[in-house]
Symmetry: C2
């Protein structure tokens, strides 16, 4: 056994899938799951996703090797605060939040000195949410970013790294600030844009026609638009400065296209679109 006990707090899509994958990996003594929702705990026990379910945080984290906070980003610091006084010494705490810098700093300040925190972000979300969509294979072949800081001890980092590797994820490390800038562009900006796009169509009253003819390009955006508004509003707020900067950059680019169309400058428009297309070629 590499781990005698691991506790997952928050049995949603990510937390549920992680608990399940760890249980199946066979190198964890007991997997504990915590959730405020009885239905999620019952389901997790019935489907053998966890060994023990609990609503009592103290019991659930007692003597755990690793405690994984798998809630929405907005309440991670609150959970960490509740954990501060009840964690056993030498426990490693990690999370799965999509935003790191602010969260990592807050948690490092909250936790006692004998507990180490390692920020984590598995790149494996889908537009779905909830434990009913959990899969023990969710992280297989997927990337997981860990964001150690000067305060992270090496043993905790390798403990968390191993945890993800043993369920098939490829682990990368980045500093929390770099992580948040990159994800503002590759993930948070596309989501704000998709939400804005759907909203710019919905109030137009075009819905009946659009229902019929969405094959024309809209469909690519709607998977993102279906994502949880609660989760994404938390993420945008937690990564506020970077998301605002990314939106500004984007607004400049859409305005560049708008002005060029308005002026009827076809050659310039082709150049602008070609730049995007060449980026795409590099990208694959």
């Amino acid at each position: 056994m590499d781990y005698s006990k691991i506790t997952v707090i928050g049995l949603g899509l990510i937390g549920g899938s992680l608990a399940w994958a760890l249980k199946r990996a066979g190198n964890v003594g007991e997997v504990y799951g915590v959730d405020i929702d009885d239905g999620a705990i019952d389901y997790a026990i019935r489907e053998h996703i966890i060994d023990v379910g609990s609503k009592d945080l103290r019991d659930a984290v007692n003597n755990s090797d690793v405690v994984v906070i798998a809630t929405y980003v907005g309440i991670i610091p609150k959970i960490a605060k509740s954990l501060a006084s009840i964690l056993s010494p030498k426990t490693t705490v990690t999370d799965v939040g999509s935003v790191k810098a602010k969260v990592v700093m807050e948690i490092e300040n909250l936790l006692p000195k004998d507990v180490s925190f390692v920020g984590g972000h598995p790149i494996s979300g889908t537009e779905r949410s909830g434990i009913f969509h959990a899969s023990s294979e969710l992280f297989k072949g997927k990337k997981c970013i860990l964001t150690p800081t000067v305060n992270t001890d090496d043993q905790s980092l390798s403990r968390v790294r191993k945890l993800w590797e043993c369920i098939g994820a490829k682990v990368y490390t980045m500093n929390p600030e770099a992580h948040d800038r990159v994800f503002a562009y590759v993930s948070h900006l596309p989501h704000t844009v998709a939400y804005a796009l759907l909203n710019s169509i919905a109030p137009e009253g075009w819905t009946p026609d659009i229902l019929d003819f969405a094959g024309g390009g809209l469909k690519d955006f709607t998977r993102i638009g279906e994502s949880s508004p609660e989760m994404w509003s938390d993420i945008f707020m937690a990564n506020r400065e970077n998301v605002l900067a990314a939106i500004e950059d984007f607004k400049n680019e859409i305005e560049k296209i708008r002005v060029t169309i308005e002026k009827g400058n076809l050659a310039r428009l082709r150049d602008i679109l070609s730049n995007a297309a060449s980026f795409k070629k590099d990208f694959i």
Copy 2:
């Protein structure tokens, strides 16, 4: 034989696939293909996509029942102008362009009185282009919009309708102006937004990181961004007024999200995102 001769001008993805599907449908005497590119004609003959290939427009359209203009939107009126003096009486002309109002009006003014034009738009493009990606199945089960006007004669409309139906497409009719407004929102706006999104990332110098972590949401946009810049700049220009109006609507929506994030108003942000998510639910 429902048609003794059909001519397709422009052997790209759409023109090539259409010629091929018509040839396979078995109710067309001869399918002629016209292209300025010898390679496209050679390939089309070799692969039995067309019966006869030609660079001579006059020969190719002589005695055709239906002439299909399958070039980029920007040069459709130019082609129609070349056709005006060489079409046989009773020929029906149609096109496959993604923008209709301006093109339909221009062509109706260009063509002689004994030739009828029916605007068409099959909703079946992909990010690919060129005859090498053509498929005789491309239109099977797909929608095709025809945009008759007060000048369209019924016989020509049913000729073109039948042409699409015999290769498996579902035909809808709309007036050209309504078509262009709908597609400004469901297709042209998503494309401008995808191009702007890729451009807002490319110059940031984030590319290496982004290459690794695009799973976070960007990927959904890149299929669109890979589309032909030449084709799309033509489309945006041909549907200029509607595209500009759609971009304005979109800019208001992204600004609404930006300001709400800036103000830190989480409850309001959730409402804005929920509106988009509810639209998505109706939409499927």
